[in-house]
């Protein structure tokens, strides 16, 4: 229960930053893709740099809060990495949202984010439903080994 509160608080903070940083703004996303706005490249670059430094420190230490061991599982590389990413890029451009900002946009009161949300859910369900058939051609790991 206490942890759920922490997840809620961190999610809220993340939503606030995405909203006020411009990551939920259709025009800023389009201008990023047109190389007319540096804003989101600056945000991503800073987030990656600072996170990377923090990860190096934590991995060198090998422990996290309370002395618990730190275990970071890297994401698998397969044919789906390229195919899925190219498809996601089209969706990111069309909606001006990635999966987090879909929800933040709904919170902000942007009504067109509701059909986008429905689309993400249906897309997720479709892949889950066909996962065993997609695995071979795309080289994906067994479902049980996926993130959860």
């Amino acid at each position: 229960m206490r942890q759920n509160t922490l997840f809620l608080v961190l999610g809220t903070a993340f939503g606030l930053v995405l909203s006020r940083g411009g990551a939920t703004d259709y025009d800023i996303i389009q201008r990023m893709f047109l190389l007319e706005s540096f804003q989101l490249y600056g945000i991503l670059g800073t987030a990656v740099l600072v996170t990377g430094l923090g990860l190096r420190w934590m991995e060198a230490r090998g422990r996290r809060a309370g002395g618990a061991p730190l275990a970071i599982r890297s994401k698998p590389f397969n044919r789906g990495t390229v195919a899925g990413s190219l498809l996601f890029g089209v969706g990111w451009s069309m909606t001006g949202m990635c999966p987090g900002p879909v929800l933040v946009n709904i919170g902000e009161g942007k009504l067109y984010a509701l059909p986008a949300f429905a689309g993400v859910l249906v897309g997720t369900w479709l892949v889950g439903r066909s996962y065993d058939r997609l695995r071979g051609p795309l080289g994906l790991p067994p479902a049980a080994e996926r993130d959860g």
Binding site: S19, R20, L44
Partner: protein, 166 residues
Amino acid sequence: MLLLNQLTPLPWWLAGSAIAVITLTLLWTTGRRLGISTGYENLCALVSDQPYFKRSGLHGPGAWRLPFLAGLLLGGLLSALLGGGWHPSWALGLWDQSIGAGPLAKSLWMFAGGLMIGVGTRIAGGCTSGHGVFGVAHLEKASWLAMLCFLASGMLTTFVVHRLIF
């Protein structure tokens, strides 16, 4: 470039640092790796009987993304309320200027885009958060390639939509 309610965006270095602090706090305190798109699997798991969504990783402690996703909704709501008020709207800047269709066409457009986000991120194994922020910072090969593909394909799509067709 203004946001909702004509707000000025936070400086990029501040927003980027804040995202890093949130990502590192999540890992430091709970051992969880930032990643949002899998949260849509947690949502499917609430109602679907498909074996894929029944796997143990999405249930029990694996349902942690549900409160995190609820927080994203709340964060957007707070951002609007604290920044000039919550005003539900269909307005979509550049899209309205160049494509200019009504709410039905806009909804279909958004649904189609959302579908590609859902299918794409599930096949790619992550999105801008899990691959783009965490994986790239963690120097993972899949994540670097994924992020380059996200951007290349987004650039091409925006160019085709806003510079060629409309």
